[in-house]
């Protein structure tokens, strides 16, 4: 077992949590990510593999599905898998084994930072950040949007719980944008 310490995307050793008004913003370093893209002719096999990994059927465009291991749609025949890091550090290996050569799997854990927004009235924050229609954005929805020039995934996990995945190197810029929007809204 190696003895290197983990640094979060914001540069700390613990997750950062900010509270403002009714909203809590938390850095979520504890998740592993792996991208899955079907190879030619492996489209159906890939959806079946994702189903085996997450439980329900592979999500359609604009959606996320699963429980402990989840998948959200990222492009035609492409998904991102997500699972708790502690139990699924090598999620990409698990996925590679499951797709049996029918899809290309890439470890993406370090490519992204994840921030979660929780609280009543998240729409007021999100509508200051991206053009997603917050009147129809529901639990189970996941989409890609630009937030302060950063390509992000926005995932509605529950009525009062939204995750934003952005490029890890710009975590500080994204965090600043989220906090600014929270303070502007409340």
């Amino acid at each position: 077992m190696h003895n290197l310490t983990v640094t979060t995307a914001l540069g700390g050793t613990e997750q950062r949590i900010d509270m403002h008004g009714p909203i809590t913003l938390s850095e979520e370093p504890g998740y592993a990510l792996a991208s899955v893209a079907a190879r030619k002719g492996g489209e159906r096999a890939t959806t079946l593999a994702i189903r085996r990994l997450i439980g329900p059927a592979a999500p359609k465009p604009g959606h996320i599905a699963g429980d402990k291991v989840t998948a959200f749609w990222t492009g035609p025949d492409q998904w991102m898998l997500e699972a708790p890091y502690d139990s699924h550090e090598t999620l990409f290996e698990q996925a590679t084994a499951e797709v049996k050569g029918k899809a290309s799997v890439t470890e993406q854990t370090g490519g992204w930072c994840r921030f979660d927004l929780r609280g009543v009235g998240l729409a007021a924050v999100l509508e200051r950040l991206c053009p997603i229609n917050m009147t129809t954005f529901q639990p189970g929805d996941a989409t890609r949007s630009s937030i302060d020039h950063l390509g992000c995934f926005v995932i509605c996990r529950a009525l009062e719980h939204i995750s934003i995945l952005g490029p890890r190197s710009s975590a500080a810029s994204l965090h600043h944008a989220l906090l600014t929007a929270m303070r502007s809204a409340y």
Partner: protein, 984 residues
């Protein structure tokens, strides 16, 4: 004596007295006042000076159409020029200053311009500043620039924040007057997603300015009750202080919400304003109408205002501009003002109605068939001159005059997609065009429906039409009973015989100017606008355009619709540039990218440089180093003598997988990749379609169907995009998948003779790093520090024995610390991008300076790399004869003949004895540095036939910097030309 013009009643909060200053003098007003209403309450009629003639001006309107009462608000960095006093909400501590004057407002030295008005006519600039031509730049332009503009800016950074946002709805209702409120109620109760926006801080529109009742309550009471109900509906968003600026494509509207302008300072964390982008399925314009003046001689004195505005001041803000007022009208609406002011206890001197059949009054005199021919009063109105029907004149003392020439529907947004408004003879005004922006319909006074009952009914019916189109069940609402009087109006634009009758008070355009424009053949409405400036500037002619059109129509013998209108464009009202910028300024202009070793580098005092949004350590100064060169020289020497470590995470990394991954790379790189063995890395050059070099890097084959491609830092995104294009569009049949992994791995270069020894302390011992087991250009998945997955590449940019080690990003900080710790025994250094640059120049490696978008593989000395055995992007066009001439530029090295001289980048090379001109240019220096290993400056350069000119002495000239000395052409490989070190 304060607020002597304050009346009883109104919708102000008299329990909240507010202090403010105007031109340094203190006044009081009440919560609910605008700056204009508070000034009028304090008997301040003189509020500004006109643009050209510096004539005294007062408030003309009570809304956003105001041309005259524009001021500088606030102090210091928050000072904002050209702010309309009619829309500025009063707050405690507000400071306002008049503008466009020299001296005081009462004694403006520039008022001398008015004396020279015969010279300063329309077209003055065009005619006057023609000669002598030499005067233009040094004399005329500075004078004109100084005279131009109205207010002044602080020249300080705006301390406020501006935000932006995105909203979606089924129906956007623009304006919350009677039609807008009725429409919102209809659509809101039916369950549609509705946004109701109004520029005013109190919704209700004219309902707040009138005395009539809606069934059994006042208009203002009904409006307030309705707004309250709407605000409680979850599907309705009520946005006061929000101006819809423009109608854009596909149902998108721009909206400016003034969040904090009514406060002394924004609350902590709150923006001053928010620019919303509203996506809506349908929109309903309920923007009401703007009253138009009648032009007569000297109709611009402070105290002369629109009659509807005078009524608003009296009814909403309980203010009269003077205790003795007169009215000049061509319609019944003007009489309403007289009646309301009389009821409020203000003396009405007379109502002068141009119509012979004007309605009479028992309470005040009505002069039917009269005209106002002139006015008096230097800094404010004292009397008007009335031409009576019998031809005699009468002087009528009054302190204020309300003028009503009828009303123009606010059609602006309907024309934002170039729709031409349609003339309506019944109301003598332009109405919305048939072709409005898609999805936009109009209701109420904006449609020309000038009665309150009509406005309410049209709001309901238009909303129901929208509901039907959206498939939402219609809703029947009962609207209150309201006045439904006919609009009796006789079109009347200006009083005959007047010349200095003001049409556009903001730009000082008179009837005479329009006549001059016509005389000089500027008769097209667009020419009229440019020649006279009619309708320009902050008010965009909201109160002036119609007068100018009517006079031009008369002069040309056309009808007003034949003359036509100019095009309305966004924004509807002036908007701060800061609002358009939103959060995209300063550090928010673009995101910052930080490397995994950033915090560690900061601890070490690194100096950072921005590369492709990344912050990279440029060098690491140590104690005693006062110049960057000292740090860089030390880093270079230490690396070449022992070992150095550099964060190279920023280089683009693209994961390429699939059965056809090798075939795909064989097509995007000009050199061969199909036969690259697993576990090997190869340098690759990508060409653009036109054969010019695009980017270089390496591709490592981790498995038969798995490569990792690296790109330069700056081109990471563009190369990925290029490869995605190739994958999706050029060869969709290939089985290949791409994804960026740039940030997924923290990657460090470990370079120098002790690099292997250092890495052997970090890479787990089961991996053999010997030259035999892991030779130059090898790659492998390894583990480090007792089991952490990592990738190891034996590649070298510095020319030394070098490796790049990559670990998952979350361990990047720990890894740099571990590497530095492991390197202590070798006196390892961290090196930055400057040392990296020096070492690659010493080694003769090309970088962005050499791949500059104009050079080919031949120029780079890599012509033979372009494989002829296969087709790849750019390979065919790289064979163009123009790119392969005998004297083509070739990459070479340069050293100064006198080693004390530098060899600066950008310098040009000239054959000795040739003249220094473009025709004799032999090439240019692309990269230069001081080589601490060689002890003198060196450079890489492109030189014609450079590969066959080694040993030649050339002139290096830089006319820009004055350098002119001799350099010798040498190999670009200054260090270890045989490559023994990197293969060690």
């Amino acid at each position: 004596m304060s607020q002597i013009n304050r009346l009883e009643g109104g919708q102000i909060d008299r329990s909240r007295m507010l202090n403010f200053t105007f031109d340094g003098k203190s006044y009081q007003g009440y919560a609910g006042d605008t700056l204009a209403s508070a000034l009028l309450a304090n008997n301040v009629r003189l509020m500004g000076r006109s643009f050209k003639y510096h004539r005294p001006r007062g408030v003309l309107t009570a809304g956003s159409e105001e041309p005259n009462a524009i001021m500088e608000l606030r102090d210091g960095a928050r000072q904002e020029p050209n702010t309309r006093a009619t829309t500025a909400e009063l707050f405690d501590g507000l400071t306002a200053k008049s503008q466009n004057k020299i001296g005081s407002l009462r004694f403006d030295l520039m008022a001398i311009n008015d004396r020279f008005s015969n010279f300063l006519t329309a077209g003055f600039y065009y005619k006057t500043f023609m000669w002598p031509a030499a005067f233009w730049e040094k004399v005329y332009e500075p004078i004109i620039r100084k005279a131009a503009g109205l207010g002044s800016i602080s020249f300080q950074d705006d301390p406020d924040e501006y935000d932006r946002g995105f909203l979606h709805c089924d129906l956007l209702i623009i304006g919350a007057g009677p039609s807008g409120l009725a429409a919102a109620l209809t659509a809101g109760r039916a369950g549609a997603q509705v946004i109701l926006a109004d520029e005013d801080y109190t919704m209700g529109g004219r309902l707040n300015s009138e005395r009539f009742s809606l069934t059994d309550q006042s208009g203002a009471e009904w409006a307030a009750k309705t707004v309250k109900e709407l605000a409680e509906l979850p599907n309705v968003r009520v946005m006061a202080r929000t101006t819809i600026l423009g109608a854009f494509d596909h149902g998108i509207y721009g909206a400016l919400e003034r969040v904090s302008d009514h406060l002394a300072l924004p609350e902590a964390g709150k923006p001053r304003q928010i620019l919303w982008r509203i996506y809506t399925k349908r929109s309903l314009l309920c923007a009401g109408a703007t009253e138009r003046p009648i032009a007569f001689e000297n109709n611009d004195r402070p105290g002369i205002m629109l009659a509807g505005a005078m009524r608003s001041y009296a009814n909403r803000w309980a203010v009269t501009a003077a205790q003795n007022v007169a009215i000049f009208t061509n319609n019944d609406d003007g009489h309403k003002t007289a009646a309301d002011l009389h009821s409020a206890g203000v003396q009405v001197a007379a109502v002068i109605d141009i119509r012979q059949d004007a309605p009479q009054s028992l309470d005040y005199e009505v002069i039917a068939g009269g005209r106002i021919t002139n006015s008096r009063g230097r800094l404010g109105l004292t009397s008007v001159e009335v031409l009576l029907p019998d031809g005699s004149t009468r002087r009528l003392p009054c302190g204020a005059l309300g003028v009503s020439g009828g009303w123009n529907p606010n059609v602006h947004l309907t024309s934002h997609h170039r729709g031409r408004p349609v003339w309506n003879d019944e109301i003598a005004a332009f109405c919305p065009p048939e072709e409005c922006p898609s999805g936009l319909t109009v209701a109420g006074a904006a449609l020309g429906n000038f009665t309150t009952a009509g406005a309410l009914a049209s709001g309901v019916s238009q909303a129901n039409e929208v509901l039907e189109s959206l498939g939402i069940k219609q809703n029947k609402i009962v609207v209150p009973q309201a006045e439904d009087g006919l609009v009796n109006m006789t079109p009347f634009w200006y009083v005959q015989g007047s010349s200095r009758a003001w049409l556009d008070q903001q730009n000082d355009v008179t009837v005479k100017d329009v006549k001059l424009s016509h005389q000089e053949n500027f008769i097209s409405v667009e020419h009229l606008k440019r020649y006279t400036t009619l309708g320009m500037a902050t008010d965009q002619g909201k109160t002036s355009n119609m007068g100018g059109l009517a006079i031009m129509a008369e002069l040309t013998g056309k009808t007003i619709p034949e003359v036509g209108t100019t095009i309305f464009r966004p924004p509807y009202t002036p908007t701060a540039i800061g609002a358009f910028a939103g959060r995209d300024r300063g550090t928010g202009f673009r995101p910052t990218r930080k490397t995994p070793s950033h915090a560690w580098a900061e601890e070490k005092g690194a100096v950072f440089v921005e590369v492709g949004m990344w912050l990279r350590a440029q060098w690491f100064p140590q104690a005693g180093e006062s110049h960057w060169r000292q740090s860089v020289d030390r880093e270079v020497l230490a690396t070449r003598n022992s070992v150095g470590i550099c964060d190279v995470t920023t280089l683009g990394k693209i994961d390429v997988q699939g059965a056809d991954a090798a075939a795909f790379l064989n097509k995007v790189y000009c050199n061969g990749f199909a036969k690259l063995a697993t576990g090997k890395t190869r340098y690759g050059l990508m060409l653009r379609e036109d054969g010019i070099a695009m980017d270089d890097g390496t591709a490592a084959r981790l498995a038969e169907d798995h490569f990792v491609v690296t790109t330069t830092t700056a081109n990471a995104v563009s190369v990925f995009r290029h490869m995605e294009f190739a994958r999706q569009c050029l060869w969709p049949d290939l089985d290949v998948q791409l994804i960026s992994t740039t940030e997924a791995w923290a990657q460090y270069a470990v370079a120098g003779p002790n690099a292997r020894k250092l890495l052997q302390k970090v890479v787990d011992s089961k991996f053999d790093l010997s030259n035999e087991a892991f030779p130059f250009m090898a790659c492998a998945n390894v583990t480090v520090c007792g089991g952490l997955r990592a990738r190891l590449f034996r590649i070298s940019f510095s020319g030394e024995l070098a490796f790049e080690i990559a670990v998952p990003t979350r361990y990047g900080d720990a890894m740099i610390r571990r590497l530095m710790q492991a390197g202590e025994e070798f006196e390892a250094v961290a090196y930055g991008t400057e040392a990296l640059g020096v070492m690659r120049i010493e080694k003769g490696h090309a970088a962005g300076n050499e791949l500059n978008g104009t050079t080919s593989a031949v120029n780079l000395g890599m012509g033979r790399m372009v494989s002829k055995k296969k087709d790849s992007i750019g390979s065919t066009l790289s064979e163009r004869s123009g790119l392969n001439t005998d004297d083509a530029l070739k990459l070479i090295g340069l050293r100064p003949v006198d080693v004390k001289n530098p060899v600066p980048a950008g310098s040009h090379l000239i054959t000795r004895g040739d003249p220094v001109d473009a025709a004799h240019d032999q090439g240019y220096v692309t990269s230069a540095c001081y080589s601490p290993n060689l002890g003198y400056s060196i450079a890489l350069a492109y030189l014609k036939s450079g590969d066959s000119r080694k040993g030649e002495i050339l002139r290096l000239v830089s006319p820009l910097t004055g350098f002119d000395h001799e350099v010798e052409v040498v190999s670009a490989h200054f260090i270890d030309p045989e490559g023994e070190r990197l293969r060690a």
